[in-house]
Symmetry: C2
Subunit: 331 residues, 2 copies
């Protein structure tokens, strides 16, 4: 049995999902030869540390009751620098302007030769190649399946499961909020604003949905895929981005009457990285409904391979983090 000491830096919905999944999968991990101990958890204000392993149930209960994980006044970066552990699960909020605290956390982890598993898109959309290089030089593992598509395992599918293939191009729906809004606009023949409001009421869209509806979230994910799957050296500024805010019910009706959906499609093709609304035939594997995500890979010897799954959700995103942890440490 390999003992792996980990921190969870960031303890919002996904961070709590990770704690819940680690709790429920303890025996499963042990059966794979992994004794995973969470030695530190930090939220935006507080932290809790126990080098022998935290009682995750107690921490989750405290977060629920008090809104904070603990009483220690120490930041995530400081934990990475001072608490002895092997793995940083970096789940602070995405910031695509400067990478936010996540970027510093990742750098601090790599400087100490620690492994990083993350769902934080910002640092990867800005500094993918630098981070990969740092991880390589320090002998760290760096995995980020959870940054793209939630539970949909597109990165590991392309780079491991489809080993032997050259991936020629990729297109997909990488933002469930936009997909939900477009589907509902078509179903109800309703205007954009009305369906954004509905999505907000249901918790599918955020109070300020600009990050999703303007295609920015999709663009960040495409940058990660362009680098991780296609070996490009891309950053956010290389993406051509159009969102869904100008789609009308009339356009959707016209598409529908001709056998098409309108979907916000992200694609990587040659050197082009593009996000824009596109007509998709209703019988195409990309024409998935609701908040689902989907990605279709064109490969040289396997032909087209399409994968569909839930693109969001705290437990679903935590599942991607767990699969990355297992792939690093399994015997």
């Amino acid at each position: 049995m390999k003992t792996i000491r980990t921190s969870i830096i960031g303890f919002g919905a996904v961070g709590q999902g990770v704690a819940k999944v680690i709790l429920s999968k303890n025996e499963y991990l042990n059966n794979m030869g992994i004794d995973l101990r969470v030695v530190a958890i930090a939220d935006s204000k507080t932290a809790v540390i126990d080098e022998n392993g935290l009682d995750l149930s107690a921490v989750l209960a405290r977060k629920l009751e008090q809104g904070s994980v603990g009483s220690e006044n120490i930041g995530g970066t400081e934990i990475i620098k001072t608490v002895e552990h092997d793995l940083v699960v970096e789940i602070t909020p995405t910031n695509i302007n400067d990478g936010g605290v996540g970027l510093g956390n990742m750098i601090a982890a790599f400087e100490k030769g620690m492994d990083v598993v993350t769902s934080n898109k910002g640092p990867l959309a800005l500094k993918y190649c630098e981070l990969e290089e740092m991880a390589k030089n320090s002998g760290s593992q760096f995995k980020f399946e959870a940054t793209v598509g939630g539970a949909m395992p597109i990165i590991n599918l392309a780079s491991e499961t489809l080993a032997g293939n050259k991936i020629l191009s990729m297109e997909g729906i990488l933002n469930g909020t936009c997909n939900y809004i477009l589907c509902r606009m078509m179903e109800e023949n309703a205007p954009y604003d009305q369906m954004v409001a509905e999505a907000q009421e249901l918790g599918i869209a955020e109070t300020d949905p600009i990050y999703d509806v303007e295609g920015i979230d999709t663009a960040c994910k495409l940058v990660i895929l362009a680098n991780a799957i296609f070996g490009m050296n891309a950053t956010y500024k290389d993406v051509s981005v159009t969102g869904i805010t100008k789609i009308t019910p009339e356009a959707l009706l016209l598409a529908q009457n001709n056998g098409y959906d309108i979907k916000l499609i992200g694609e990587v093709n040659g050197s082009k990285i593009n996000v824009s609304p596109k007509l998709v035939p209703k019988d195409n594997p990309l024409a998935v409904g609701g908040t689902l995500n989907v990605a279709s890979l064109q490969t040289d010897i396997s032909g087209p391979i399409t994968i569909t799954g839930r693109g969001a959700g705290s437990i679903e995103t935590a599942s991607a983090i767990l699969s990355d942890i297992i792939s690093i440490y399994k015997d």
Copy 2:
């Protein structure tokens, strides 16, 4: 660089596909630290052996011109027993009555501690647990992604990419011939016999299509999935099987008018393994057209994950064999 000596036993369309793929991916394999040398190839009548590695282009050309791979009068099993090598790529025709020569070939390989990668469903549909046990006891690797879904990587997706998940159930379309026939019956409002004839003309259905249209092929694949993904101890006789021969254009029309397709669905759910035609809503991810295969996994923490790909084709099936080879030998 690791030198791996392999035989290819069976040299029909898929066997030749494997040779072509190994030829075209030589540099790719070298970059992964694998020097893959094919030291023996056997078809049903002849064989060719070169312990230093065969010239695959020459063998492929000879097979095309003369219909046979070589002049040596030695069978596949004898090659496995007498030629020194590490890996047997077993691609003889599927026989679900007694496992055919494939079963003996796999046993012979495991007795010598050799690894086996195969697309041959027969031995696995009949003797999965025995073969797994033999492989385990002899320290052999045993991989069979190519037995189910051609290029669609369902086994490795479930067991590796989705590590951490418990797979709760699976349903899918695992036979492209049936899917083609049903799609075309619906499109043309045409009877079963007519569309079987069309599929035969196009090389999508065999001269005797019973194995596909009666659901036998799907049932064999389900047995393999039930064992490999769900840890069952199932054989072909545990499957409840109904084929597509009694589906009428009227039934398809009625389904279509209510927003459904009729698909031959295979499912593993609890202890039930079942193949039968089912109504599938047209907007369900399982409603794929043409000869595509699709599988939808219900998981405990990732939710539903659906994968779609080409279920047949010599290069596509060879791609699954290549990915298995890489997963065994990559550094």
